[in-house]
């Protein structure tokens, strides 16, 4: 089955070339069928790949350049169940977004489709690649496609500004990453991840490796919008069309985390795996991200900005899961990735529907306008409950596994902070839903700052398609926590992903990794603590949402910190660059102290 991995890249890329190249030739329906068909076929193949990857790591050496005597010359895709699962959910989200865009974005549709397919191929390649430089290639391809997709509505100034902020910040991340590659290559003379790990096994790591790790991981964290590198996300999401947001927020931003996990467990676990220094920094970055972005979400009134911070908040939780450096944490991150991608996509789809229906995207302006739209309302509330992680809904199972990992390591305070983050973001979404779909609360709120200028969206859409796509996404996302056997499979997949020496032996010497025993097909039970935390987070979110709707005046003590938070998220790209520089320097400095 080693022929499947290259197809997950080749099919979307070939279809991208075909759809733009045949723009003037083939009729619209044929084009639509080609685009949706290519994306659906990629998703289906990813499912087949997942099936096979559970038994053994599926490895494909491009050009047939297999390693000789343990030296890898070629480029490989190495796919375990974790990477294959990512490809499946990437395929689902992109396919749903393309269906949504069928009537949502008619102008320049061919160019849009070509870029979406290029991004799909790039994301799959990124999830599967086992080569450092190859990772960079896919990272850049998805970034270039995403910049253009973000600025799609060129006739307005806002989108161009948002896309420029996105492009400058992420290009800077690309520079850091490529300098990191150069440093690592100068030291090890290798680009294959397993080979680099092997080369770093001997002797002390030293400053070069610490700095290279800082640059490489910070490159991914910028892509992943982790605090303090997160500032571009809200600007970009606010202006991108809804189906683009669904892909950006659902999978493309979060995928940076997979890069972090991949690099850590193939390369940097070799020199630094004895201690917890690398993981602790990631854990703390994740905790700060979860709480800060959750708070920021609560302070937004623009729905897409609110969702952007909700995405960043959950990325923080997932990064904390990786930072625990154990199997439970990584498995939890994987399950959260799956549920979060689908739920976030569905919420962006609903935001797009509201934008089309009313020409508005502002919570306060939309107050009461969604009354009677029961299908979007159901999708919104179900998606929100799923994102909070109410027991046995949505991200709950993944979050519970991260909790388990934290308490096994004796860090029982970690889950409390993480649940606080998702409750804050969830409260914002609940408040917005109640205001829009139920007409509750006031139509003024000084906490939320000024309205951002809105562009009415005049489109002749087929509403049933939009609503249907949103409902499909939300149902899939909500169900993730109760799929029998999924928890055990995720733990097995995470265990395989963490097996640094087994991976290297499989890649460089073609030795088989141990196959799983029979995995039980039951719904995984989480600990009592998680159940309590999840219930508490739900109640807290409900209470906070009510407070947001009905309190008369903002408590005076809150005013200064809120002002500081708003002013830090200035929208000025120079500030963003400053934070990238400072964030990278501080992260590297801490690692230098911890790892020397």
């Amino acid at each position: 089955m080693s022929w499947i991995p290259p197809l997950l890249v080749a099919i979307p890329l070939l279809a991208a070339a075909a759809t733009a190249g045949l723009d003037h030739v083939t009729p619209q329906p044929v084009q639509d069928a080609l685009v949706i068909g290519a994306s659906a076929a990629t998703t289906a193949l990813a499912f087949v790949l997942l099936w096979h990857a559970e038994d053994h790591e599926v490895v494909h050496w491009f050009g047939g350049w297999q390693p000789k005597h343990g030296v890898a010359l070629g480029v490989d895709f190495a796919v375990g169940p974790l990477a294959a699962g990512m490809c499946v959910v990437i395929g689902i989200v992109v396919t749903l977004s393309l269906l949504y865009a069928l009537t949502f974005l008619r102008e320049a549709a061919r160019l849009f489709d070509a870029l979406m397919l290029a991004a799909l191929g790039a994301m799959c390649g990124f999830a599967m690649s086992g080569d450092l430089f190859n990772l960079f290639v896919w990272l850049e391809l998805m970034a270039v496609a995403a910049y253009a997709l973000t600025g799609f509505q060129v006739e307005r100034l806002g989108p161009v500004q948002g896309a420029v902020n996105f492009a400058i910040t992420n290009t800077l991340g690309g520079y850091l990453f490529v300098v990191g590659i150069a440093l690592i290559y100068a030291r090890t003379g290798a680009l294959n991840l397993a080979q680099i790990g092997k080369a770093l096994a001997h002797g002390p790591a030293g400053g070069l490796v610490i700095v290279a790790m800082t640059l490489l991981l910070c490159g991914f964290l910028i892509k992943g919008a982790v605090v303090p590198f997160h500032l571009w996300a809200a600007d970009a999401y606010a202006v991108a069309p809804a189906p683009v947001c669904a892909v950006l927020g659902g999978v493309m931003t979060d995928i940076g985390l997979i890069g972090v996990a991949r690099l850590y467990w193939t390369v940097f676990a070799v020199p630094f795996g004895q201690g917890h220094g690398v993981g602790d920094v990631l854990l703390w970055l994740g905790l700060v991200t979860a709480v800060l972005a959750g708070t920021m979400a609560f302070l937004q009134r623009h729905l897409k900005r609110m969702l952007a911070y909700s995405v960043v908040c959950h990325i923080g939780i997932m990064l904390a899961g990786i930072g625990l450096l154990d199997t439970s944490g990584l498995a939890g991150t994987e399950l959260m990735f799956l549920a979060h991608a689908l739920l976030t996509a569905s919420l962006f789809f609903v935001a797009g529907i509201l934008h089309v229906d009313h020409g508005l995207i502002d919570e306060l302006h939309l107050r009461g306008r969604g009354r009677g739209c029961w299908a979007p309302a159901v999708a919104w509330f179900a998606g929100t409950i799923g994102l909070i992680g109410t027991p046995y809904v949505g991200i709950y199972l993944g979050h519970g596994l991260i909790d388990d990992g934290a308490s096994e390591l004796g860090r029982s305070w970690v889950p409390a902070l993480l649940w606080l983050g998702s409750a804050l973001a969830g409260a914002a979404l609940l408040r917005a839903g109640a205001r829009i779909f139920l007409g509750w609360g006031d139509d003024e709120d000084e906490l939320l700052g000024r309205a951002i200028e809105e562009d009415p969206l005049e489109r002749a859409v087929r509403r049933p398609i939009l609503v249907g796509v949103a409902l499909v996404a939300v149902v899939l996302g909500v169900a993730i926590s109760v799929v029998p056997g999924l928890g055990q499979r995720a733990e097995y997949a995470a265990g395989r992903f963490r097996d640094t020496s087994g991976y290297a032996a499989r890649i460089l010497h073609d030795r088989a990794m141990p196959a799983p025993g029979s995995l039980p097909v039951t719904i995984q039970h989480t600990s009592v603590d998680s159940l309590l935390y999840a219930s508490g987070a739900t109640i807290f979110a409900l209470g906070l949402a009510f407070a947001g709707l009905y309190r008369r005046r903002m408590p005076r003590a809150l005013a200064p910190p809120v002002r500081v938070l708003h002013s830090l998220h200035s929208g000025v790209v120079g500030d963003y660059v400053t934070w990238v520089v400072v964030g990278t320097a501080v992260t590297g400095g801490v690692w230098a102290i911890l790892l020397r």
């Binding site: 045949l22 003037h24 790039a122 850049e140 496609a145 003379g189 700095v211």
Partner: protein, 243 residues
Amino acid sequence: MMVLGPGLLGLGSLFAWAMAGLPAFGDYHGPYGFVLNRVVVPLRHTTNVVMGTTFDVRGVDTMGEEFILYAAVVGVTLLLRDETRSKQAERRTRRLPNDTARLVGIAMVGGGLLVGLWLMAFGYITPGGGFQGGVLAAGAILLLYVVGSHRDYRPFRDVHALDPLESLGSGGYVIVGLAALASGTAFLTNLFGLGTTGTLLSGGSIAILNWASAIAVTCAMVLLFAEFLETYVVPLEPEDSGS
């Protein structure tokens, strides 16, 4: 600024710390470069090891890079599209005042094209390749605009021809890879006869992939230039257009 200064200082010191750990100049230990230098010529019959690496050993990287260029061109077309822009508007004709300069310029168009084609064709034998040659050829076509006028350049930027050609170049790369996969070997395996080292008929797939990227890059660059020109060259006012 108050934050940026210390930040840059910190990043700079980290970088200096990393540089101190680099091996000395010329002291290369890695297996990668040595092995490639040793195996590419005998195994692939291309005397340009760089091309053997980029189009064969690491061919999939080049495929991704070609699509980065492709996505960039599609993105520029998307971002610079302007529904209000009149397709019929004649662009201002601006000729170089000096005939000698024009003659030299026109000669350089031919020369540039020739060098571009040479770089493409002999890329796997001597330094060069499809990417480099493509950029040069497209630059030569752009010279037409510099020495002549937009009108002279326009026949070369027919999107009905360029779009399919560019897609053929990029898609062709993928198709070569898929052909190898369909024949039961790995994606992008070198399927074709390797020929005699040092001749144009050597390298097998490398030659085909080289031409695919040459086509894709030439078209991409011409399209890019055309998009920028369309946007930034001031259209003539309707009343001037007859003169």
